[in-house]
């Protein structure tokens, strides 16, 4: 469904991604891990077509997004739901306006109708819609904001792929588990491909069918949990070293189901 073919990407002469190649299949849950600044988030931006690689191809549903015009990219983006780091909710809009943003901008549906859909979606992501729908994003906790962002992505594009950029960073353990539970629920109930970028091993183990580890812009590991726990590649070992002791405990951890 999504394929990176020998992708190179640089910001201001600094090479961020070097020869990245991987494939994500429909309904697969892929976690991209790596230390901060290793280029993980850039991969999500490339999938959305927000950036273009200097070299290589990114194929989404048999189409190369790098060679598309902005208007053509829109058709691809309609199939992708993106949850940005910190939620990226529109801070001047209320919660229901945020959730119904796409419908407000792109459809002729009435405000009441969109409001109803937003309430339903807020309920789906485990939030009390009546309580929060007229609030501003800043009035919600970090975990609630993240769930609103997931609801917005779902209602917006009816996605085939969900992208999550550091979905639990900065959240307290309870909120982080709620968000992880919601991501798992979405992946299993709606059966869509999921790509999660994180540097937190607990998130990765809880969510992934497959792991990619990126260090200094290069893919140093691509495989499942068992292969990861046995991997002897020095860069992978270096990245996992702080988590080694808790690795298997984390792998067996149960996450709250919403």
């Amino acid at each position: 469904m999504i394929e990176f073919k020998n992708v190179y990407f640089a910001y201001d002469e600094k090479l961020i991604l070097k020869n990245i190649s991987f494939k994500v299949n429909a309904s697969e849950a892929l976690v991209i891990m790596g230390p901060s600044g290793s280029g993980k988030s850039t991969i999500l931006r490339l999938i959305l077509g927000l950036e273009c690689p200097q070299k290589g191809d990114i194929i989404i549903e048999d189409k190369n997004i790098c060679r598309m015009k902005e208007s053509q990219k829109q058709n691809i983006r309609k199939k992708i739901g993106m949850v940005f780091q910190d939620g990226a909710l529109f801070d001047s809009l209320s919660i229901w306006e945020n959730v119904g943003y796409y419908l407000l901008e792109h459809t002729n549906m009435s405000v009441e109708e969109i409001g109803q859909k937003a309430i339903k979606m807020l309920g789906f992501v485990g939030l009390d819609a009546q309580e929060i729908m007229d609030k501003l994003p800043e009035q919600l906790s970090g975990g609630m904001q993240r769930r609103v962002a997931i609801g917005r992505a779902l209602l917006s594009t009816n996605p085939k792929v969900m992208l999550y950029d550091e979905p639990t960073t900065g959240l307290d353990p309870q909120s982080a588990e709620n968000v992880l539970g919601l991501i798992k629920k979405l992946h299993h109930e709606i059966s869509i491909a999921t790509i999660v970028v994180t540097h937190q091993i607990a998130d990765a183990v809880a969510l992934a069918d497959r792991f990619i580890v990126i260090v200094e812009g290069e893919v140093v590991f691509d495989g499942n949990l068992e292969e990861l726990s046995r991997c002897n590649q020095p860069k992978v070992k270096g990245f996992l070293a702080p988590f080694r002791k808790s690795f298997f405990k984390v792998a067996q951890k149960k996450f709250i189901e919403i």
Partner: protein
Amino acid sequence: MFNNISYLRKELTIFKAINKWLKNFAYELQNMFFFSLRMLGAMFSRPFYFSETKEQLYLIGVGSLYLIVLTGIFAGQGFALAFSVELALFGAKDYLGRIMVLAIIRELGPVLTSLMIAARVAAGITAELGAMKSSNQIDAMVAFGIDPIKKLAVPRLISLIIMVPALTIICDIIALFGGYIISVFIAHVSSTMYWSSVREKLIFGNIFIGLLKPAVFSFVIAFIACYKGFTSAGGTKGVGRATTDSVVLTSITILMVNFFITRVVFALLKGYLL
């Protein structure tokens, strides 16, 4: 010999720094030019965001009104006061109205209004867009199929095109009224003499130049403020830096463009200005 080598190295470093600065400047100028073209193009293509434009008209126009009224009244009074003393020395106090029109309508009205709007509005636009960019809101907009230039920049450009000339007219009228207060109550020029002197110079050329300038300045403010906002980087510190750059660059550009417009209009429309 070693001294010479270290001197040469130092020189090379300076040349490299200058070269880098010039390259960055040219690159920035080129980007700003293409960004401005994109903004102009987006102005004439669908969708049109009427409610955002209405909101910006209110924020820029009504929000800046008190500032423009204060600027107009004190600039007009200060200018009239300074000139009435000088003109009195030559027994030419009756010409105060003419001088007020030339100074206020042609130069001070457009420049002061635009500088005030640059300080208030350009800073606001850059800070708002910069904050949206650093919190990924602009990327989220793109991800939802919305062109942020159309949605965020064009309503601000249209509002500035309408409001800067309108506020300049208000500033001109208030400054002339400020001049009138000084003329009558301090310089003791009769009310009739002041207003007839003002009317003598309210001719096509002066009014044209007085409206052309704010119209051009509105583009300058919108292009620079939006560009700086959209390209800000480096978190809150970066937004702060972009906001400062935006106000400084807008103010300097307004003063430079003001000079060139005056020069060109004088060359082309001299007959209509005297």
